[in-house]
Symmetry: C2
Subunit: 98 residues, 2 copies
Amino acid sequence: MADYDHPASESLTLLGVLRGLADPIRLEIVQHLGSVPEASCAALLGDRPRSSMSHHFQVLRESGLLHTRIQGVQHFNSLRKADLDLRFPGLMEAILAG
Amino acid sequence: MADYDHPASESLTLLGVLRGLADPIRLEIVQHLGSVPEASCAALLGDRPRSSMSHHFQVLRESGLLHTRIQGVQHFNSLRKADLDLRFPGLMEAILAG
DNA sequence: GGTTTAATTCGACTTTGATCGAACAATATC
DNA sequence: GATATTGTTCGATCAAAGTCGAATTAAACC
């Protein structure tokens, strides 16, 4: 499967990032990813339907919060902390502390 | 007119604050209020319908971002920066810098 | 090739949220 | 009291976003 194209850090907008964070499931995913280097989709699934989670992963990718690395059949997700720190200093630290 | 009841700072949630910020008009209001002590609704109105703006003021109040002081017929709005800093350190600084 | 596993895409449905005119409430002023 | 000003509330409408089963893609493995 082809890689995803993630938006460049310069093109990220504060509004877009805030929209990405403004959902309970996505905020939970982001906060989880704040404490681990990366996690597969399955590891973040919980007991929710896969299709719902796929939607949230897509929103997180498009808003620039999440990077997805494909390895075989698994997708490993990580927080784009360095990019976000560069673009919006202090933001993720505050989010992950909450 | 009776005062509004603003939520206590302890009861604010990160998700609620993020939801409050995740709208272009509200983010603009918040960022504007970051640079002035307070502003009346009229001063923040722009060319938008009053009823639309009233809705956004309500959302901002309920999420704990905004405090409204009533003086006569005017409503003076201010950012609840001290409360937000206490509850979510660094968050508003990052938002206002964006 | 067939099967299992991981995750997405599609499509339909539902829910949430934004928009905004019209009516209303409250204060100030003449 | 009448009028103008400031802002809210109501109610209807519309658009955006979340939900999730079923079908699909892709890789791994026997």
